[in-house]
Subunit: 259 residues, 5 copies
């Protein structure tokens, strides 16, 4: 049985995501200097009682692992298994850099994997995610799918990667491939996001936080809509650690998510 | 010995297929809203006494697995091992997202795999299906081949993917590769379909239901022709769960298939 | 030690080949309707006392395996390990669809593998055939190489795939890669075929029967020349089961091969 | 636990790198003839008390392995696991030529792997380096990442491979992928290099020595800046063994690195 | 420890190479008819007391293996692990057709592998040769690298594949990849070849015999130069078995090599 409770609280989730150093480069930390230090992020995650912190294996091993046992017990680790830089502009594919077993050895309570839906390398990612789900479920931990439509065919056929039908397609694929949680982008309105949640069925849907919004309220409103639409929570990064007061935003988010 | 009886009744088959969420997206459920919910489909399959329900591993684990033991005993599970979206327009190839052993652990009585006959990636699919047959037969369960001619060379050489000689070629390939059942499209007339059945030899042929026909009688006539031509049954999806009364259509189908 | 005697009689061979359903499609059976049924072919092979029948794993499992033990003891099974359709026009490559161990489990006394000499995918086939030879010889059974020069470079450099020097090259490659028997096309005259046989050294050479000749005598004359040139026999298909009287042709062939 | 102390002294490092024969060819030794002989280099490394010597597996086995046990105890071996020539001008990728286990059998205290950041083959290298880190950390030895931005996209997007943001990106990727030490190029000034060191976090940063500078003082100044910026040391090659007095340069370097 | 002595005599080597049937086709035997027969070559090798005979696995199994134990003890077998035809004009790559373990089972005292230095497929060959060295050294037998610069980039950057700096590069790569012996072409003069030998360090260098020279003395002079330059010997083929008196040439060669 997959133990989903470790990364949920009352069935809801608020994850602090921190893989931006790999995906976008340290330039992402430029306007919030402390955020370049994983220890700083881990402190926010611990103090804010996040239901999980999302790291690559390197930061997990060199920072999360060195926390005290108590802190680790309170703050579940989610390891992102694949990653890439944004330098080569190819049809998107993000290779596995950490095995499921390795993630478990590093103390992960769940694993994540990014699928670029519609990419010309979709078949490789489907195959790999199939392996991830199998490994995770054998070990009894959840597999989280980051489902991001991207690539030439998405542009040609849908125009936008937040097209509601496309996002719903991604959520459904997550369900059918065996994901326990799907991390996806907002579709722009509550009604269409409710359809996305429906398409995902028993696969929980969490919002992918995305870029920092100028006005924090704007982001909070999106989270409200996501929850109202049946979403299970949010995976947030920049909207927290680029905020003036990360713990304040955290509290605001938790009020919305946990009610 | 391969146990084909589990997914047959008196040597005949009526399968409820439900992999459309992955293959076509939830847009496929738009004109029959309830059908987006796998529980709804499983209820049809159980109430209609289908000889099998075809799911991807995710829906199998999160829905079929949670049925009661009795329901699972009555309704055999067929797991589709490979899948893809319809977003990238490439030479068709559908990667493995579930291993045979995994399918068996999830309770599958048979496994299915799609071969896009004539695709430029045919060699990869032949190799993979070879592995599927071996794994399935070692475990004593049947391997079902979805054989769909597709791709540039099919268009250039045959024009239509229901060209009788081409469909017969696919049926024959299923036999020679070790499939126990071939799921294929209708050729348009009874005589040519009889040739297809002959080409498949001891590999049973079931009709691939395809898109919902406007008039249900049209579809029922095709099934009649298939059975008259020596077919073993039908794998149906949209013509059932998009129907006004799915169980009524089911009864009509069963009368034709089981006589 | 490799047991070559099981598929030879007095050091000579007459094999009935039946992989045309996969390689060319059932259209190949059009002008000899019964030949679409593997049982019909197996009866010819058994009644004609062939030194081996060549099948893909599917037909082996569903037809040869169901013969009585006596019939199987008398008629050795040779499983073709790789196969492809003739639909996509690519640089030729035929993927493995059956493992050596699987073939042995199905009762094979020998295994065959097609190498498209000179294809741009030659390196993949050389590697795979290397594995086949190793697996077969470990199990003590012979490995047969179908060596067919083909592809863009063969056309450009040799013009014809029966160019004597090219065919001799193929025979030699079979020897050096470890094949026990090479199945190759006729070069057109006895003298050049004797050179082919010499190039193959201790690897036995059997004629690849090819398309049905209009006049049966024409084909019989080729077999005579092959034997006179030092060939070990013939692998025949269409020239037998498309004949008016397959057993009569068989007897004629045996007289030539076994003298 | 990873034993980083074996290749550090007081937390600092000075490595003698000697993989130029593979990467650039023996032409690299032309202006310092003795340097073509690995024994000569090993003598410099031993006499200079380097905290490690970097070799490919061949030179490790045929030279380092033949040193006395005492010498080997004093001079840690770092094996470079991947390598390539500079002949084909392709999107850069350097294949594994030595497994982690093999390196350990040859006496390695650490292993190194080159990642060409931004190359179109980045995903292959990320995957492989993921495996390297896992193997090394399982065995308790450090994994060192050579991180060199290179290829078409680097040229197009950054112009120079020493662009400070790009170098910092590389350092960060090393951290997130699990490297214990990152070997990178100088960014040109102390301030930007301090940013690089910060981006690398708990992954130590050593300077990649690069080409011999005309004036040795120029190189020493760079090392001073690197150390002032928080670097952990230097991996030097040509600036030592192409120097008139390699041990003199070594002493100068050690004064800067160890203070 | 690698046992190099089995394929050396007083530290020197004279190998009879016989893989031309695969690499160039039997056309290579046209002007010396008996040479098409591996038995004939093995007799020359045995009578001439060669320090090794180089065969592909097929000829090893069907000819060398059938020699008496005494003959096999006297004549060491070197198996060429990879091979290809000269038909497709692609960037050169020669796939593995025999595993190291398989070669050892066939009685090999050493294994050989061809690296086409500078080919666009160099990375695959480096990886494979890495595996070969590891397997061979684990079993205690030498790994011999055939290092032949070839392909588009060699032509563009060096013009000739016997460019002295390029040949030296190849010799160095053999050393760094772990080869015990490098088989390379002559650079044209003694001085540059001495540089090649120096670049190879403790990896022994043997001359690749190449095409038959019109005047045998020409070839003998090259061997003299190679030995004077520090070479360890010669791997000869056509210059022996295409000679009028192969054993006479052999004696001449041995006088030069063993002194």
């Amino acid at each position: 049985m997959v133990d989903l409770d470790k990364i949920l609280q009352d069935g809801k989730a608020i994850y602090l995501a921190y893989d931006h150093g790999m995906e976008h480069g340290p330039v992402e930390f430029a306007d919030a200097e402390e955020s370049i230090d994983p220890s700083y992020i881990l402190k926010i995650a611990a103090d804010g009682n996040y239901t999980g912190v999302i790291l690559h294996k390197g930061t997990a091993e060199k920072y999360y692992q060195l926390l005290g046992a108590d802190e680790r017990n309170t703050l579940p680790l989610i390891i992102k298994l694949n990653g890439k830089t944004n330098i080569p502009d190819l049809e998107p594919y993000s290779p596995m850099v950490c095995a499921v077993e390795e993630a478990i050895e590093l103390g992960a309570s769940a694993v994540g994997y990014t699928i670029y839906l519609g990419s010309e390398k979709e078949s490789t990612m489907f195959w790999e995610f199939g392996q991830v789900v199998r490994g995770a479920h054998k070990a009894g931990i959840p597999a989280i799918a980051w489902v991001y439509p991207r690539g030439k065919w998405v542009r040609e056929k849908y125009g936008s990667d937040t097209d509601p039908e496309l996002v719903a397609y991604g959520a459904r694929v997550a369900l059918e491939l065996g994901a326990d949680v799907a991390k996806i982008k907002y579709t722009g309105d509550r009604k269409s996001f409710a359809h996305v949640v429906k398409a995902a069925g028993r696969c929980k849907v969490v919002l992918s936080g995305g870029e920092k919004t100028e006005d924090p309220k704007e982001f909070l409103q999106v989270v409200k809509d996501v929850m109202a639409a049946g979403g299970a929570g949010v995976a947030v990064g920049r909207n927290v650690w680029k905020a003036k007061d990360p713990l304040k935003v955290t509290e605001d988010l938790k009020k919305i998510v946990f009610g």
